[in-house]
């Protein structure tokens, strides 16, 4: 194995992929979406009391102003319950609504939605769809034969292309998180450092599923099969992950041992998009913001949520799938 040739190949393929992303306008489209989200964040205004000091034994006792008004603000205060007078506005005050949370929590709530749900679901799926064509067009016999007649091992060409696409998504995810973090920070004065964990979350989720896209691209050389195959696989994994969490948290009566074993097997072999999100939710203390899936909370309480193993098994899945794609690519006749 000639290491310098492999490194050189990977470097050239990564460069080529970035060049391809710029020329296909994908780079600018994703950057445009990031700027739109940043503009949205910059237009947010949040007011409210600072978060009260909390202890493990303390039950949060506060009510939003509109709820307290129904009972009577003075009466509520006499009961020792704090009246939270927060507000959140969007579009530089164009739309205002009351917020029952302290200011920091309101901003974190927004960030969890922005990164944990919108970017991690819609964003990752769109990225998979948009980048699905990169490999099949590259692998067309007319495009790739001269490249395959170079001294580079075939697997290093595929690895370089894969890393190029993942690198492109890493750059876009970093720009997205940085832009929305800075915009929200300046607009609200709240700087949540845990929000940066969204970068590895988005990139990790994408990288795992893009390995499936790469395998399908090598196997079928079809953009449609690669794009829709990956989306269907994502849906399958999400359902498998959700069902496993649901059954881990609240045991179901009457399920056979073999079905339970198959579910466990599928869960451990396949990627776990919901578990990866769970790590981000925990870092953002999303449970207190009512933005964390109840199934995840129940599974955690039952001691059946293992984020470190979820990360390891997802990584192993991506490496295995990529190795399979490389083997297939290496043995293909052109």
């Amino acid at each position: 194995m000639n290491i310098p040739t492999i490194l050189l190949t990977v470097r050239w393929m990564v460069r080529d992929t970035f060049r391809q992303s710029v020329s296909t306008k994908l780079f600018w489209v994703t950057l445009g979406i990031t700027l739109l989200c940043a503009a949205f964040c910059a237009s947010v205004r949040v007011t409210g009391d600072p978060a009260p000091a909390q202890h493990d034994w303390e039950i949060p006792s506060m009510l939003p102003k509109n709820e307290a008004e129904k009972i009577g603000i003075e009466k509520v205060r006499e009961e020792g319950v704090r009246v939270v007078t927060g507000e959140i506005s969007f579009g530089f005050g164009a739309m205002t609504m009351p917020s029952a949370r302290p200011r920091e929590d309101t901003v974190r709530f927004l960030q969890v939605w922005l990164a944990g749900w919108i970017a991690d679901t819609a964003g990752v799926l769109l990225a998979l769809l948009w980048t699905a064509g990169f490999l099949p067009t590259f692998l067309e016999p007319q495009s790739v034969t001269v490249l395959l007649a170079k001294p580079s091992p075939r697997w290093s060409i595929l690895l370089g292309k894969y890393l190029g696409v993942v690198g492109f998504v890493t750059l876009q995810a970093t720009l997205f998180v940085a832009a929305t973090w800075v915009a929200l920070g300046f607009a609200t004065g709240v700087w949540t450092s845990a929000y940066w964990l969204a970068v590895p979350l988005l990139v990790g989720n994408f990288a795992v599923f893009y390995s499936v896209s790469a395998f399908l691209a090598v196997w079928t050389r079809s953009t449609v099969a690669s794009a829709f195959g990956t989306l269907i696989f994502w849906l399958l994994c999400w359902t498998m992950n959700y069902t496993h969490l649901r059954m881990s948290g609240v045991p179901v009566e009457g399920i056979s041992a073999s079905s339970s074993f198959l579910l466990d097997l599928g869960y451990w072999i396949m990627p776990k998009p919901l578990d990866l999100s769970g790590i981000f939710f925990d870092a953002m203390q999303a449970e207190a913001l009512s933005t964390k899936p109840a199934e995840l909370i129940e599974a955690q309480k039952a001691g059946n949520f293992h984020p470190e193993w979820a990360v390891v098994s997802c990584g192993a899945f991506a490496v295995g799938t990529l190795a399979l794609a490389s083997y297939e690519f290496g043995t293909l006749d052109y």
Partner: protein, 247 residues
């Protein structure tokens, strides 16, 4: 030493349900091409010429037999660094400029970074594309892409140049350029494998030729041997071979 050696090479493409059906593209071909020769590979359509070239470039694997480049098995990919390949219908990435194409393929051929720019400049000058070097190749005509393909094949200063139907789409000046390149290779003791249907070109440039018909080697020798020292035209001699092969 031979630049190329095919040793009892056979290639069967599998197809159909469970890969049970096979189409034999090449059957038991043995052929060696010495270093320093300009060698022509001829044959009718679907004769197996392209399959031989693909096996030579490790684009596909032989079903049986072996292929060697510069005395080493074709599985040793490092010898591909000494090979330049020009393909008749290659689609370069349309988002790259002519200059970027040469840098990209040159870089992957192992040309050191400090030499890439200089070689690309010189070759673009040579193939007449210097004034269009920064234009995306999506704006290029077929002939211009062919010229770029030739420059790409020369980027690593190869010892073996493989030209697969190289004159497709080339104008008169382009064809002249190609002939000059082949003659330069011959003068410098390097090897050229020319796969072509253009008989005048083969007759004019090649020292030796091989004719493949229906996946088998039907002739190997000097052009004069094929034409019986000029008693037949090359076209007539080939037609005769093709018809015999078809039977």
């Amino acid at each position: 030493m031979n630049a190329i050696a095919f040793e009892h090479v056979k290639k069967t493409y599998r197809g159909g349900l469970l890969n049970r059906h096979g189409i034999t593209a090449v059957s038991d071909v043995s052929l060696d091409i010495p270093i320093g020769s300009v060698f022509g590979l001829l044959g009718p359509n679907r004769a197996g010429k392209t399959t031989l070239v693909k096996m030579l470039l490790s684009l596909s694997q032989p079903t049986a037999g072996g292929v060697r480049r510069f005395g080493e098995p074709a599985s040793q990919r490092h010898t591909l660094g000494r090979v330049g390949y020009m393909h008749e219908n290659h689609a370069f990435p349309r988002y790259l400029s002519a200059s970027e194409v040469l840098r990209f393929y040159g870089g992957l051929s192992g040309v050191p970074g400090e030499n890439l720019d200089r070689r690309a400049e010189n070759l673009l000058e040579r193939v007449g594309l210097a004034d269009r070097k920064n234009e995306p190749i999506s704006r290029f005509s077929k002939g211009m892409v062919q010229r770029l393909g030739l420059a790409q094949a020369l980027m690593n200063e190869p010892d073996l140049l493989i030209l697969d139907e190289p004159t497709e789409g080339l104008d008169l000046l382009g064809r002249q350029l190609l002939r000059d390149v082949v003659r330069e290779f011959k003068q410098s003791g390097r090897t050229v494998l020319l796969v072509s249907h253009v008989l005048t070109e083969v007759d004019e440039l090649c020292d030796e030729l091989a004719v493949i018909v229906a996946g088998e080697l039907a002739f190997r020798g000097k052009p004069a041997e094929l034409t019986h020292n000029g008693q037949l035209t090359l076209e007539a001699a080939l037609k005769d071979l093709y018809l015999k092969g078809a039977k």
